[in-house]
């Protein structure tokens, strides 16, 4: 995967967030403060603009720019957390011009570690970690099993989606939903839901890049 695939990934995330803005906001209204959709839309719009102004020439530099933009410009908890995820992943990729599925798996593990460190959430706390962690695990397993790139990314996206749905019965232990205690049960976590979109967007970007090459 080259820089173009990663640029397409970010574009796909921005489009998915825009399309699903109302659903994310509705999920956030149930257990938070009803701004997750709007914040992510603003954030990824800013990222898309930043990428248009400055076109980084490696996947690592691109993810770094995405991360810094989200951290500095978005606000809320999602800006710093998603920003840290992308920045750490970008750092892990170094200055390689192309990235294998195994490289990506390691980079996303670094991103997840950054989110855990900053937010302090573990799996089961009903946060974005509940979607990201299983997705990163599924990706690493697929790499170990020798799966193809498309299959591996598909496994990650499915695991993220399942992880997001699995937050429904959870009681929140971090973030604003934690103030609801038992009343947070029965609602999907908006951060986990948006993380599932991010992994689905990665699949879509990879598939599109393949088509654009005529293969």
């Amino acid at each position: 995967m080259d820089t173009a695939v990663f640029a397409r990934w970010i574009g796909e995330i921005a489009a998915a967030v825009r399309a699903d803005k109302d659903r994310l906001t509705r999920l956030d209204a149930a257990i938070g403060d009803a701004d997750h959709g709007a914040n992510l839309e603003r954030g990824f719009d800013a990222v898309v603009r930043a990428l248009a102004d400055d076109s980084p020439d490696t996947p690592g530099a691109l993810l770094g720019l995405v991360g810094n933009t989200l951290i500095r410009r978005v606000g809320g908890a999602s800006g710093p957390l998603y920003g840290t995820a992308f920045r750490e992943a970008g750092k892990a990729l170094g200055d390689a011009r192309t990235v294998s599925t195994a490289d990506l798996a390691r980079a996303l593990e670094a991103g997840l570690a950054g989110v855990r460190r900053l937010g302090g959430a573990a799996e089961g706390d009903k946060t974005m970690v509940d979607a990201i962690a299983p997705a990163v695990r599924a990706l690493a397993e697929a790499v170990r099993d020798g799966s193809g790139q498309r299959e591996a990314l598909g496994a990650a996206a499915s695991a993220a989606l399942a992880g997001a749905e699995a937050t429904i019965p959870m009681r929140a232990g971090k973030g604003r939903a934690s103030y609801l205690g038992p009343r947070s049960v029965g609602h999907e976590d908006p951060g986990a839901a948006s993380a599932a979109l991010v992994f689905a967007a990665l699949c879509a970007a990879e598939a599109a890049s393949d088509e654009s090459r005529g293969g």
């Binding site: 906001t25 209204a29 938070g32 403060d33 009803a34 701004d35 709007a38 914040n39 603003r42 951290i71 500095r72 410009r73 978005v74 606000g75 809320g76 908890a77 999602s78 800006g79 710093p80 957390l81 900053l118 937010g119 929140a172 232990g173 971090k174 973030g175 604003r176 934690s178 103030y179 609801l180 205690g181 009343r183």
Partner: protein, 345 residues
């Protein structure tokens, strides 16, 4: 029929906001603040920073706070002599971003360092933390004090911890007075932490608030339902209950405070409206607070009644109590001149 009336209510709720457009609410309000208080405030619209018109004072610790908009007058209304040097307003109910906080810290630094006053909400904490790290890289000395006074959060080990609410006003005023008096950064930090340690808050919502972006109430309350233990973003609180007399609601709030920190002696009390509570009702409630205090052998030695930490158009109230001592009383009484608090000058 029911569907039609719900739709009708949503439409009205969307339309009836005194705004130009959903996207420009914060920017338009900042322009208004700049026009209304040119002698007190300087508003940097581009960077979204409200600072004192007089600029930084050499040798004085700079006080910077910030948070989501929708809580006015918090924080920009408390910028001025004796209180904050700058405020960073975020989008509605969304913390500001590190860029704003760094620019503000740099702008108000008079060479004695800067204190960030941070309400304990995950977004605020993360963004101020990243900003403080970046400031340190740029050579600006920044300390942080976390305000976490909301007793409604019982289980602070299994949540993000107690929320920062009404005591933020006390911390900003009292630490602001210490800084104005020339106290060095560690001393300002100590005073700020002491105010937080001696303060507790509890809030009650009679109705939810409606953000301009969603146009719908952030949660549903039935005709006779109320929410006990709310935070300041319209997020639901401890429990649902049914509407009762002011006396009983105040007793619920005051019992929650007293259980957590026995109330005695001279106290500073803020009876805060949530944005849409008539002042006459706040005074009804304050009478009950005063009676409750005298029942505990305590006294409201200093008080504020009105809208200070709001939640847009929410109806309800919060009560914040700070156990005073001689030092905190003196700093509370020190002159202040901001759009929302002004005395002694």
């Amino acid at each position: 029929m029911a569907l039609a009336s719900t739709r009708e209510r949503e439409k009205v709720a969307t339309v009836k906001k005194l705004i130009n457009s959903v996207d420009s609410v914060v920017a338009d309000a900042l322009r208004g603040m700049a026009s209304a208080h040119p002698g007190l405030l300087r508003v940097d619209e581009e960077n979204r920073i409200v600072s004192r018109a007089s600029g930084p004072r050499a040798g004085k610790v700079g006080l910077v706070s910030g948070g989501g908009s929708g809580h006015e007058p918090l924080h920009a209304g408390f910028v001025g002599y004796g209180m904050l040097d700058a405020a960073c307003p975020g989008e509605i109910f969304t913390s500001p971003v590190p860029d704003q906080m760094i620019t503000a810290a740099t702008a108000v630094n008079g060479g004695a360092g800067v204190l960030y006053v941070v309400k304990n909400y995950t977004g605020d904490v993360l963004n101020f933390e990243l900003a403080a790290e970046l400031c340190a890289d740029e050579g600006v000395e920044v300390a942080r004090v976390l305000v976490d006074d909301d007793v409604a959060v019982r289980d602070s080990l299994h949540t993000a911890g107690r929320r920062g609410t009404g005591a933020t006003v006390f911390v900003e005023k009292i630490a602001g007075a210490a800084a104005e008096g020339g106290a060095p950064l560690p001393e300002v930090v100590r005073v700020a932490e002491e105010v937080n340690a001696r303060s507790r808050s509890f809030g009650v919502a009679l109705s939810a608030c409606t953000t301009p972006a969603s146009g719908r109430p952030t949660f549903e309350l039935g005709e006779t339902e109320i929410e006990l233990g709310i935070g300041i973003h319209g997020e639901p609180g401890r429990t649902r209950s049914t509407m009762r007399q002011a006396r009983e609601l105040v007793a619920v709030a005051m019992d929650a405070l007293d259980e957590d920190m026995p109330i005695s002696g001279d106290v500073l009390v803020m009876l805060n409206g949530m944005g849409a509570t008539p002042l006459i009702e706040l005074y009804v409630a304050f009478a009950e607070v005063a009676e409750y205090l005298s029942g505990k052998g305590a006294r409201a030695a200093r008080s504020l009644v009105g809208d200070y930490v709001t939640s847009l158009d929410m109806r309800g109230f919060s009560v914040t109590v700070c156990l005073l001592n001689e030092e905190l009383t003196r700093l509370w009484d020190a002159p202040v001149e901001t759009p929302a608090l002004r005395w002694g000058r």
